[in-house]
Every structure is written in C-alpha cells, then in structure tokens.
Subunit: 476 residues, 2 copies
C-alpha cells in the first residue's frame, strides 16, 4: 500500500483515475443508425469546443449593453444580428418587422427610510412597464405582505400606503425556475392588485435565491385596470428587503421615500433577425432555433438571453462548418421583445400561419448559458417518446434531463398537435443570481459551458431534422 | 393562440411552465424502504439549502489564505478545523499527527524574453517542490516540446537549454479531469526527464482549459534522480505560453530569463483534524468522509479543497441537525498535505491498519464545489451494483453519473476488497479555470452549488451507512 502511494504521486491520483473515465457509449449498445448519430454528435461537440464562435459573438453582442425593446441599443443589436448571420454564410438572412413597447427607466431610482435619525438607502429599480412616481417622489407608510391574496385582503387599509411584497424564493426547490415561478406573481400583478385600493406604490422583493444588494428588474402588468389605478412599481434588493422588513417590525409606522421617473413611450417598430440553411430534401419544412435579442437594461443581457442568441446561431455554424446538410430548412431567429410582451414572437407566429411553410419543430434557449442538463419537450405523445429515446446518445454530454415540459416564450405560439417544441435546459443553480440584474454581464458566462450548450442544441436539431422529418404532416 | 399569449404574459411563460416541473419521484416506483430513503434525502437537501453552514465555514477558512503544508497558514487551518468541529457538537474531535513537506515559494518569480528590443514579461510561478534558480536567474535558449517522450529524445541537445513543455489541454474531452490527466505528466515529470541531460530549467504550460494570464502551480517530482540533476521548474500562463511559442517560431534562438527562489525546508509536524458521530449499532465500524485542508498558496484554496472540507463537515452537521442517528460511526477527516505528498493520508491509513476499527466505506470531495453531477465508485462488484441502484433516489438532485471510478487521493490508501470508496463528482467544466491558480478564491464558489454538494454527500453517506452495514466483514 505504501508503495502504491509513492508510485501514484498522491496529488495526481484523482486525475490519473479520472483520465480513464471519459465516457463513450459502447458501440454494442447502438444500432447502426445510432452509431452514425453518435459519431455526428461527437463531431458537433468537437467543433463547438475547438472552432466555436459563440463566445466571441457574445462578447460583441454584450458590448452593446442592455437592449431594451425600442431602445437605440436594441436597434444596434438588430444590425449586429444581421451582420453576424451574413458573415456566418447562411443561405438567406432577413429582418422581420415587429411592433414593440418602448419603456424607459429614466433617472436612477431613489429609495430610503429614516431610522433613529439615520437615513438608510435602499437599492431599488423601477419594474419594466411601470409608471413614474410624482416628480418629488412618494413618502408613505409601508404595509408588508407575502402574497397577492394577502394584498387583495387589505382593501381600504392599502389607501395612501406603499405595499411591500416580500415573499422570498423557496430555496429548497432544486430547479430555481420553480422558485421563480412561485414568486413572480408579486412582480407581475402586485401593483395591479392594490392600485384599486388607492395604494401609492408597490415595492417588490427581487426575484433571486441570493441575498445581495442588487435589485432585479422585470416586467410588470397593469392589465386592463383603468389608468387612474396605475401606481408605480419598483424592485428592491433582497438585502434591502430583509433590512426593511426588520425595521418595520421595530417600527410599523416607518415611512419610505421612493422616487423613479420611468415611463412608457409610444410603441416602436423593430425586427426579428432571421437566417436559414435551406433543407436539401424538404426545404418548405422548417425547424426553428432561437433566443431573444432584447434584454433588460441594468446589465448587458449576457445570460438573458445573449447566450441563447449566440448558441442558436452556433447551431447553424456547426452545420455549415462540418458540411452537415439538413433535410429540412433550419432557421435561426433572434426574437425581439421577449421581455416586454413578445412583439417578435407574435410577428413570427403570425407569419408562420400565413405562409406555405410548415413548421415541424422548434428549439429555444432562454434559460441561461450554464452547463448543459437537458431539454424539455412540448410535443405529442409519439414525438415526446421519440425525443426521450435519444437520451442514450445525449447523456454522455451531461444531457440526462429529457422530459415533458415547456419550450419557451418565443416559440410556444407555434404550438400545435404536429409541431415538436423543445426548450434547452442548462443547469439552473446560478441563473437567478444574475437574471434581470446589473450582474448579468459577459464575465459571468463561462466559455466551455456556453460552447457545450451550443453543441447540445446542435445535436438536438440534428436529431430532430433526421427523425421528425419522416412523418410530418402537410399543411391543410 | 393570440389570447393564450396575452394571458400568459409572455415573459412569464417559461417560468409558469417551469414551476410545474419540479421533479419528485413517483411513490409508485419505490419500495417502502426506498420511500423512507427518499423522504430522508429530501430532508437532508432541505436542511443544507436552508440551514447549511458550509458557505460561512468556507468564508472563514479561505480568509486564512493559501495553506501550503508546513506553513503557518496550514497550522492556523488546523486550529480552525478543530474549533469548527467542536462547535458542530461532534461526539469527539482530535488531531492526528502527520509529517509533511515544507516548501516555500520565496520571492515573486520573474520571467521574460526580449523581442525586437522590447522586454516581454511572462506570467510564471514556481512549481511546488521545485528548487530555486541561481540567485541571478537563468538566461538560456529555449526548446519547445509537446511530450515527455519528445523531451527524452532530446538527449544532449537539451544541455544548457530551458525546456518548454507546451502540450495544451484537449478541450474536446467533456470531463476536464480527463484533459488534465492527459497533460499533467509534463508538470510532474518534466524536470526529472531533462535534468539528466544538463538542461538548466523547465517551463511548463499551465494545466487549464482557459487561455488567460494566470500561471497554475502544482506539485512536481524529482523522484530518485541524483541531487545534481535537480533543475528548477516553473509553470507559465497559457497566454504567455502561446506567445512564447509564437515568438520561438519567428526566432528559435530567443533567450528566456527565469528567476525564482523557491526551496524545500526540513519536513514539519502537522495534523489531520478528525471528528466523529458514534454509530448507535456498530460504533467500531467506520465510514469516513473528507477533503483536504492544505492548499496551494496563490489563491485561497476555495475550490481546492476548501469546498471538500466544509462539505464533509456539513454531512455530519446535517445528521445532527436532523437527528439522524447513524448505525456506524461517521467520521469526518480534514486531511493535511494532499497537494505535496499525502502525509496526512499516509498517517490516517497507517492508523486504520493498527486499530480495531473496521473501515467499511469512505467518501472524498476533492473535485471542486460546482453543481452536483454524481459519484464514482471504487468497490467490489456487489457494492458497486448496490450503489448504482441508488440512482433513482439521487437523480432528482442532478446526480445521474454514478459509475465505477476512482475515489480520491486521501481515502484511496484505505482500499481493500471489502471497503467501499466513493468520490464525489461535481460538474467539472469550470474547475481548471481556478485550480492551483491565484483565481481559486472564495468569490468563485456559488452558495447553492456548494450546499447541493453537501446534501449530495450527506445522502450518499446516509445510504452507505444504512445499506453497507448489513454485510461488512469482521477484522481478521
């Protein structure tokens, strides 16, 4: 044993073991078609990891900064998207008009309270779509609630108050999107719920697992309430939320000052950016792969959704680089305005209904650029089973989670019984650290994780192109 | 369809879908014992994610800084380890003496070449165990090689030269440990190979996937070569390596200056830190869980292996916090000196042979603190199959990769036919960005990823304690 230790040079031990562990699928387990698939998938991973362009594209795109729908930065992003698609040598590239909202944040928001004669600043930001406060801000007492139901029950008690929604993420949920889904109603409908009672504003705890001092913005909705019930809505950092809550316990009459100057301008004309490689057998049949080009303004929209954009283009780049000729047309779409209403998704879906093209599948990447975990499938029973059968080809790349589930906001309007929609699912653990905050920046994206995601998506598109093709319907 | 879009508030679409996706195992698939296990595993995950201490322990430990074996910082880490184990309320805590090397880096290393009259600095650092250069440094021509074999073939050509090992990581390998395993011979044996030919020094490309300007240190070995064949060895950043290689192509007579003042001091006395919860049924049977307390000096040893240390203690903390009484004794070991020879591992293994204790299992965490992926198993056929059968209990937590493989440098000396050794395997994609470099610092560790790892390990120890127990041998 002693000799073994010496021989192994102990600190190298783990690695000499690990070296033997690189997983390959035993050929014996595969049919001859699957062997071809396995080889092609390995080829695509090698390509992404050695000649991938996604990381440099992302550096470029994020250098524009945040890309709010309707903003000059979003317009620059459209130009950037058209340029890189043309440089990638796609068969055709075009812009598709879309109508988008144009909300602006205005000046840096201010919020504070005074405790024991000391001013305590709070990190806040206006929520997307929110109106401004009056020019001189709002000063009011605060009522803390944990749920929309609790807010709804306030009734007249809410009048003249700031309502503070402070339900935290449930950190015991393994998939952080589940925790987000369990909280985001506060952000979306918090203002709408108490505007009718005469509340002056709402402050909403940021949508993140992390306790830090960055507020996370995101869309809020007034829905169909009358204009006079519109009240301003701001996000507050989780650290400031915890602190405010603690101070409210000591002093329930505490007054908070809030000032923001955000506003909604008239709608703007913008574009989806679209490119494609024509299918060699059935060019009229389309498989879409995409992410969204717009982003929130606080960071530079790296994980949400710069990564999805560059990964989607990388799929086509990998096909071209390796001379893989798709049977169907593979189309990349950089969707505009996922964040504030889906103007781009609506425009695309409307077009899809009126052309002779037949959409047979779609894949969306809008869950960050972290290490690959799998895909969720929104398809009929047969195609769901078909996609699940690809697990043995994909699991050597960490893609184990291939289950029924949603696809994505931008492609879901294409849903029908015949179309197979898929969402790319990277690891979710770090996503809400950055999501919609000033911290969602290029340096948070790891090159290998991004490239592995591109290759995962390319593999899925390759398999969809090869196997969905056989039994797709004609357009009625 | 249009209505659907409006209802769904498109940017919330993904998340309302995701919310439904939190995976639970259908009870129908589980036996009654497995249902109990499933409940207990969920309990342990909840505990780690809501009351875990690992992140704050790691903040504390890394605040000591790098913890080279034999250094004052390593001694502080021992004191820290003893204190936190006692605070965790373990049944007993003790220090186990171990003899360790004491290598010091000395002054900041200097390396440069002159190209077109311009001095080009290169980011280098001495490799662990390396001797110094002469006081005034070395100036010599450089021969670039890619393999030990190529270096071996140089023979007399190496005399008076600096040998530059420049074989990069194979980035197409999905598990980055495989790429490391394919390159680390250059670092370990590069100097030994050419010292005998009269080479003056070696410079070794850093062991990382990333192209950046941080040199990565790590151990090198002179083995049994005579003292007069010892030559200094330094790591060079990948960026500097690429640049040096390019310049050598233009000017093969290029001379490099290298100066370092590292040296080996007499061995030191140090300690493993050990604590345990006594088993309620078979206290003499031991399951070890551990990581290593020492680290390299450039960063603060966060991922290598601060995370393994705090996760291992968290396993016992989770047991105590949830009043889970193990059948066997669960022992946590903070091993000293994994990086430079395994003095702690040797001391522990020697003790294990001479006491009446029977080691039935071990689990090591020394592959970083990233998001959980699985475990590798070093055990007999029956127990390997047993551990693999736990996949259905562990896969809801992202633990899909449960395969035969190595355990870890510190517990592998315990190997026998009867003992079941396991290595914790988090995602490897980012690990070598930081490994042994100045960038391996606390801020690179994500709290949730760390906590999920602690819970993964606690779940494995829980299952080992429950199921390995039944058929373990008596000591001969």
């Amino acid at each position: 044993m002693k000799k073994l230790i010496v021989l192994f040079s102990i600190s190298l031990y783990l690695f000499s073991c690990a070296q033997k562990e690189e997983k390959v699928i035993s050929s014996a387990q595969l049919s001859s078609e699957e062997k071809i698939d396995s080889t092609n998938i390995k080829l695509m991973f090698n390509s992404a990891l050695t000649h991938g362009k996604s990381y440099e594209w992302l550096r470029d795109l994020t250098s524009i900064g945040g890309r709010l729908s309707g903003s000059p930065e979003a317009a620059l992003a459209v130009m950037w998207g058209e340029r890189v698609m043309k440089e990638a040598g796609l068969d055709s590239v075009w812009l598709q008009p879309a109508i988008v909202p144009h909300w602006i944040r205005g000046e840096k928001e201010i919020a504070y309270f005074v405790s024991n004669g000391k001013k305590v600043d709070m990190a806040v930001c206006a929520l997307g779509g929110s109106i401004s406060t009056p020019k001189n801000g709002i000063v009011a007492e605060v009522i803390e609630v944990k749920t929309i139901k609790e807010a709804e029950a306030l009734g007249e008690k809410a009048r003249g108050k700031i309502i503070f929604y402070n339900r935290p993420f449930n950190n015991t949920l393994i998939n952080t999107f589940s925790a987000y889904g369990g909280c985001v109603d506060q952000r979306a409908y918090g203002a709408k719920t108490v505007g009718k009672f005469g509340a002056l504003a709402v402050i909403v705890r940021s949508m993140t697992n992390k306790i830090d001092n960055y507020p996370h913005t995101g869309t809020m909705r007034y829905g169909d309430i009358p204009l006079n019930e519109y009240i301003p809505a701001a996000a507050i950092s989780t650290l400031a939320a915890e602190n405010l809550s603690m101070n409210l316990k000591e002093n329930p009459r505490l007054k908070v000052f809030l000032k923001q100057s955000s506003k909604n301008l008239p709608k703007e004309n913008s574009f989806n950016v679209i490119g494609e490689i024509r299918g060699v057998e059935n060019p009229e049949k389309i498989i879409v792969v995409g992410g969204h080009l717009d982003s929130w303004d606080l960071g530079d929209g790296a994980h949400d959704d710069g990564t999805g954009v560059v990964q989607s283009l990388e799929v086509l780049h990998i096909f071209k680089k390796n001379n893989i000729k798709p049977k169907n047309t593979i189309r990349v779409v950089f969707f505009m305005d996922e964040e504030q209403g889906g103007g781009g998704a609506k425009a695309y879906a409307a077009m899809a209904k009126t052309t002779k093209e037949i959409h047979i599948g779609g894949l969306e990447s809008d869950a960050g650029g972290h290490t690959p975990r799998g895909f969720t499938i929104d398809a009929n029973t047969a195609n769901t089973a078909l996609l699940k059968s690809w697990k043995k080809l994909l699991s050597p790349y960490g893609l184990h989670d291939i289950e029924k589930g949603g696809s994505g906001a931008d492609i879901s309007p294409l849903k029908s019984e015949e179309v197979t929609l898929v969402g790319y699912r990277p690891d979710s653990q770090r996503y809400f650290d950055y999501h919609h905050a000033a911290t969602d920046t290029f340096d948070k994206v790891n090159k290998r994780e991004l490239e592995l995601g591109s290759a995962s998506m390319a593999s899925m598109i390759y398999l969809m192109d090869k196997y969905l093709y056989q039994n797709t319907p004609v357009k009625l």
